[in-house]
Amino acid sequence: MDRRATFSKWSARIFSEGQSVPMNPILICRDCDTVYRALPLRRGDVALCRRCDAVLARYFGASVESGLALVCAAAIFFAIANLTPVLSIDIAGIETEANIWFAVRSLQQGWIFVAALGLAFTTFLIPAVQIGLLFWVLLFARAARRPPGFGPIMKLLHRMRPWSMTEVFLLGALVAIVKLANWVPIAAGAGFWAIAALTMVLAILGRCDPASWWSIAPAKT
């Protein structure tokens, strides 16, 4: 048995055909279609494909409770990020503030609004829906029940994953600070730190692969 260190190239404790393993689940690599039998993973384990190094599975340590706690934290950070200024400038005593919505609104000029639409989706709507749906799913999972609309919700969460750009917004705000700092007094507000925290929480939640989310509420098929 190969039980080497986490994250090393050969950390996979997953083997191709021929091993007798009590657990049935079969894993198929998304990137090269190689079939493996899953072995139970321990904390910190990552199963990598032997052929192409794709991540097949991660140890899924988050209990429903901690998942729910993270989602609640994300919701609070998201609210702060949208209710308080992310950036503010002060010119001759007149203060101007900006956050995600102000940024989206400033792009609404003529047909440039398509960019506003893109920005609204990737930095506001999709993170908001992700948080809401995860909360819904985990709330039911806590009561050991499969929530209504579980299948479509999981599909939607899977589809939305590449389009959530909170971390890019964070970097964008940093660049804007440096860009404007040469001419005007600019400061990061509470919203900035909320976005930084939101990025981290969403990253932790995002590490859990979809297959694990499915196992939260297995129930009937």
Partner: protein, 205 residues
Amino acid sequence: MTPLRQSHELGLVLCRTCGLAVSRAALKADLRCPRCKSRIEHRTPFSTEMTLAFLIAGITLYIPANLLPVMHTSGLPGDADSTILGGIFEFWQSGDWDIALLIFIASVAVPFTKFIAIGLLLFTVRKNSRWQQHQRTVLYRIVEFIGYWSMLDVIVVALTSALLQFQLLGTAEPRAGIAFFCAVVVVTMLSALSFDPRLIWDRRT
């Protein structure tokens, strides 16, 4: 070590939406995943065609995105339209080489890397190449990962315009180039998402 087998050799097929391994024999006529009800295909249908179409669209949109101004500033420093490359150049000249580099990576290097990488993947898959399969799969994952960072400039322009509205010192307004640039990001992401990396490993005879 047992030999590595692909799913079809073992009568299985992967649901790409929920990650479930489904037995082909058990798959009903409608080809729906028993767990998530998504349609299951051996390979993403029209993968290379869609990828190529989005890639061409992305390259086409990238031209106006760079030629047209992304932002118009007026006020004390004078009225000026700035393009993405012009903005990078300004940062560079004013000594903010780190920001210049960051924007250069997000707005120029990343899109170009994507164009070249996706083009290379499409070409080698079409040639049915066995060359560097592992490295090409890694390349695909890099393209997938770096894709959305190009949105950086859109966010910077939006935030700058939001802050510099009706200011005594000057105002900044977005211009058409930024909409094209946003479209480039979306279209190239769709291109990468349409590509089925399993084609790299397939042997068509």
